[in-house]
């Protein structure tokens, strides 16, 4: 490769320099077939970064106290030096917005551009989850609509009304996601057009629903069809469509929270992959630039210093250990896939017959496009990487007095460790499984939800508070049941809480 005059590696950045670097990075990204949305790179100050933090990555957030709390927390932690700010925030939108912090050095800005504007950006555009669940082109418009709508509601119905509705929705936010059904993409105009119709239609719909009481005692012996006919896991959706007394604007707010939750759902499922992909590309792109002679050694040293900090994985007994670092795992997995493709060992050929020796770029793109964390790990985690990370698998059953080491990084343990790690990223194991099983529409309109524990892990105490929030939306009795050893449903939380004695009451 012909050596060229390197780009200026001064510490202070300026817009000319940013543009020069950006052009070079883009050229290399194209070379590696990274397909991205148009980049919109915004330079902001630390304070603005804290604002962005507070709104949990939404570029336009509606007004709510919880964001104020997050802001105060961030500010306090930052001021006391307990935490540094992230170098960047990137938003899954078209054009893809990334924030660069004013304080970063030129090297850091280049790193961030490669990481966010080409790494994350291409992931947002290419990964199947993002493709099918989020619509990058309409999200900004939708958030703007949500902000204005909530603002209007506050003016019409009072801040505290809207706030309590939002509080309740936030408590159930994780249960406002469709996991299997794919929502249709609709544009803002359609959304607005439908919204007015929906308000009126839904209300009338709900009223008639409650009027459909079966006539007479003719069928009383038959078991009445329960409603909903099948358990519903999307609690917020169920509320939006079926809560008897909600006002139209409250339904719309439930819908907004649900949509926002849905928008972030793919990000939760692809943390390791998304960060790993971005780290892999900032590393690959910048080393490529170095090989071309476009960046200097000084630049590379600063870059590598930061890079190794980001992808460091402390051991389990280190004071800095707080679980597996998704950056480290993801980055090393992508590096490892490239290695398997380019220099496969006998072991790799045995474990990965399809990809060993294949074109690494094709394989990497395939992996990025078609997997989420859980499947990505179970598909691509190699024995070599498990050895490098020295992974071991602890089985902790509260019935026994010991924690058992179930498997370690050896021949007999690879598969167990790999599937355990993959399960660890399976959201349906991490998030609790609570479904709406019955709404007694013919009787007292009480709502029954059922908690199905994963590996008999009980529900945390916060359930009582959440049930209160749910009650404020449903406005009739709400109870949460769990199946006990005898196969009966036992009430574990209810609102309004009648008496302690009735806790033992068996639900039908």
């Amino acid at each position: 490769m012909t050596k060229r005059t390197p780009l200026d590696d001064q510490c202070d950045w300026n817009f000319d320099l940013l543009t020069q670097y950006q052009i070079e990075i883009e050229r290399v990204a194209k070379h590696y077939r990274l397909d991205t949305y148009t980049n919109q790179i915004e330079v902001i100050t630390t304070e603005q970064m804290m604002d962005a933090y507070a709104s949990v990555g939404m570029p336009i957030g509606y007004t709510h106290w919880t964001f104020g709390k997050k802001f105060i927390q961030t500010e306090q932690n930052y001021k006391r030096g307990q935490m540094g700010l992230a170098y960047e925030i990137v938003i899954n939108s078209d054009p893809c917005i990334s924030y660069l912090m004013e304080e970063n050095s030129m090297t850091m800005q280049a790193l961030v551009m490669a990481h966010a504007c080409y790494g994350h950006n291409s992931f947002f555009k290419g990964n199947y989850l993002f493709k099918s669940w989020t619509d990058a082109s309409s999200i900004i418009d939708y958030l703007l609509f949500a902000k204005n709508y909530i603002n209007e509601c506050e003016q019409k119905f009072g801040i505290s009304e809207v706030e309590s509705c939002l509080d309740a929705c936030h408590a159930l936010m994780n249960h406002g996601v469709d996991r299997y059904k794919r929502p249709q993409k609709i544009s803002l105009e359609e959304e607005l057009k439908r919204q007015t119709d929906r308000e009126e239609y839904l209300q009338s719909q709900v009223n008639t629903l409650w009027r459909t009481v079966p006539k007479g005692s003719k069928n009383i012996e038959d078991k009445k069809p329960s409603f909903p006919s099948e358990p519903q896991e999307n609690i917020l959706y169920f509320i939006e469509k079926n809560a008897p007394l909600l006002k139209p604007w409250q339904r719309e707010i439930v819908r907004i929270v649900r949509k926002v939750s849905q928008y972030f759902y793919p990000q939760k499922q692809t943390q390791v992959m998304n960060e790993g992909w971005a780290c892999f590309w900032h590393y690959t792109i910048l080393t490529h630039l170095y090989d071309e002679g476009l960046v200097t050694e000084k630049f590379m040293l600063e870059f590598l210093h930061n890079h190794t900090n980001v992808v460091a994985q402390p051991d389990y007994n280190s004071p800095y250990y707080s679980g597996i670092n998704p950056y480290a795992l993801g980055f090393n997995m992508f590096i490892d896939i490239r290695r398997i493709c380019e220099h496969p060992t006998e072991e790799d050929k045995l474990w990965f017959p399809e990809i060993a020796g294949s074109n690494w770029l094709d394989t990497l793109h395939f992996a990025m496009e078609n997997f989420k964390d859980e499947s990505f790990i179970s598909q691509f985690l190699s024995p070599k990487l498990m050895r490098d990370f020295k992974l071991f698998y602890l089985h902790d059953d509260d019935k026994s007095s010991f924690i058992e080491v179930a498997a370690i990084h050896n021949e007999s343990g690879y598969k167990k460790v790999r599937s355990a790690l993959s399960e660890q990223y399976n959201l349906s194991n991490i998030e609790v499984n609570i479904q709406v099983v019955n709404a007694d529409i013919d009787g007292d309109r009480s709502l029954t939800l059922k908690y199905t524990p994963h590996q008999s892990v009980p529900l945390a105490d916060s359930k009582d508070e959440v049930i209160k929030h749910l009650y404020s939306l449903w406005q009739f009795d709400v109870k949460l049941v769990q199946e006990n050893e005898n196969g009966d449903d036992e009430v574990i939380a209810r609102c309004p809480n009648v008496q302690q004695s009735s806790d033992r009451e068996k639900a039908s």
């Binding site: 507070a54 919880t66 924030y99 597996i324 509260d398 080491v405 660890q424 529900l459 508070e465």
Partner: protein, 425 residues
């Protein structure tokens, strides 16, 4: 392609609204915290901002999540000693992650308090929220203190920024009409004459020539009248109008006798500092008269009131005497809302207490809007309290409270100046 946008100059306080919402929501907790904080303050720095502590429990946003127990499978990195089948003793159930059980995402339960600072303004607002001077009446037209600027017509002089264009041009038209009317009349006559001469069958060459010349002169004269003159300019006029304000005076009466020990004095001072902050913050135009007394009363300034060390025996009526005298001299009850706050340890010359009652009921209470008495003592009440008690049963605008410790100051203060529900008109 990429677009760079410099957002650094955009507004940075995007979260301010949310922050205010947050403070509003947790007002009750924050207030509790403020109340605690006020007691920990030194006498001189009651009005700084404050670090507010709220326990995390109070601001939880609950979600369903998995609790402790059950079967948990976890993969950890950095194996240095284990082989499959090893059994490890369960670490004690505490926070910390000694053996690598730190799964932060699932068990986000800590009891750290949530600390943040509020500004001085936010702090004082919270401190004095819902407080007011009782029975305050806006009855005085005080020419010295409060004015409102109102429009009052137009005037011929003023600054350029106040020029009223419409009025000025109207003036200009009027002036031009006025100054040219006689000339126009003459012009009309001459023109008529001219047309007659022109139409005449005879030739009047010389006359026509003269007439035309005359018409030309008049036209020139008319054109010389200026389009706009300084004389035309009209300026919007503003005057200051006195508005009714409430003139109020607060008498602070403090006992500094020998029986008041340092702790008691400190409590009294704290009380008055609160009062002072409250008054200066809420009412811009209020007089404060400081009176300290032992056997003799003396009117002093703020500095001396709070910091002087002078002391002696106790005759409470001396202060009331002085107050009545000052009221007569300077604060006519028809013009002033008169308030008083008296602080004492209740120790008084026994014979003097009935005299205090008499002074109060006859000279002071009829003229004042509100009189509050606080007694700072840990001993049983003495004659002064008993005498005052009788006053309190018969009079609405007399209030008395008992302070035992520093913690009582703020609640008592709130009690004394609580906003009344049915406001006096």
């Amino acid at each position: 392609m990429a677009n760079f946008i410099d957002r650094r100059l955009n507004s940075k306080n995007k979260s301010t609204v949310n922050r205010q919402r947050f403070i509003k929501r947790y007002k009750s907790q924050i207030k509790k915290s403020v109340e605690q904080a006020i007691n920990n303050r030194g006498v001189t720095d009651v009005d700084r901002g404050e670090n507010i502590t709220i326990t995390k429990k109070d601001l939880s946003e609950p979600v369903f999540h998995q609790g402790k127990g059950g079967v948990k499978d976890r993969v950890h990195p950095g194996n240095d000693q284990f082989v499959a089948g090893d059994q490890i003793k369960r670490p004690p159930q505490q926070q910390g992650q000694g053996s690598g059980q730190g799964d932060a995402s699932n068990s986000g339960e800590g009891d750290d308090d949530f600390v943040f600072s509020i500004s001085k303004d936010e702090y004082l607002n919270l401190l004095f929220e819902d407080l007011e001077l009782p029975n305050l009446e806006k009855n005085q037209l005080d020419k010295l203190i409060d004015y409102k600027t109102v429009r009052s017509g137009y005037c011929a002089e003023g600054v350029a920024s106040n020029i009223d264009i419409v009025k000025s041009l109207q003036g200009s038209i009027a002036r031009r009409i006025a100054m040219t009317s006689s000339k126009r009349k003459k012009l009309q006559e001459l023109e008529l004459e001219l047309s007659l001469l022109v139409d005449d069958k005879l030739d009047h060459i010389q006359e026509i020539k003269n007439l035309k010349k005359e018409i030309e002169i008049i036209n020139k004269k008319i054109a010389k009248v200026p389009f706009i003159d300084t004389f035309d300019l009209r300026f919007r006029n503003y005057t200051k109008q006195a508005v009714p304000t409430s003139k109020a005076v607060m008498f602070c009466l403090m006992d500094v006798s020998g029986s008041m020990d340092q702790a008691t004095k400190d409590i009294a001072k704290r009380f008055y500092i609160l009062l002072y902050l409250f008054l200066t913050r809420t009412y811009k135009t209020i007089d404060v008269v400081y009176i300290r007394h032992h056997t003799q009363a003396k009117e002093v300034d703020e500095q001396e009131f709070f910091y002087s060390q002078e002391t002696g025996g106790t005759i409470a009526s001396s202060a009331l005497d002085l107050m009545a005298k000052i009221m007569d001299e300077r604060y006519n009850e028809n013009e002033w809302n008169i308030y008083a706050a008296q602080a004492s340890d209740g120790d008084n010359w026994a014979d003097d207490s009935p005299r205090c009652k008499k002074l109060l009921t006859e000279n002071i209470l009829p003229k004042s809007r509100y009189f509050s008495y606080i007694e700072i003592t840990q001993r049983p009440h003495q004659t002064l309290w008993q005498q005052y008690k009788e006053v309190a049963t018969t009079t609405d605008h007399f209030a008395m409270q008992h302070i035992k410790t520093v913690e009582d100051i703020y609640p008592v203060f709130r009690e004394l100046f609580r906003k009344s529900k049915n406001k006096v008109a």
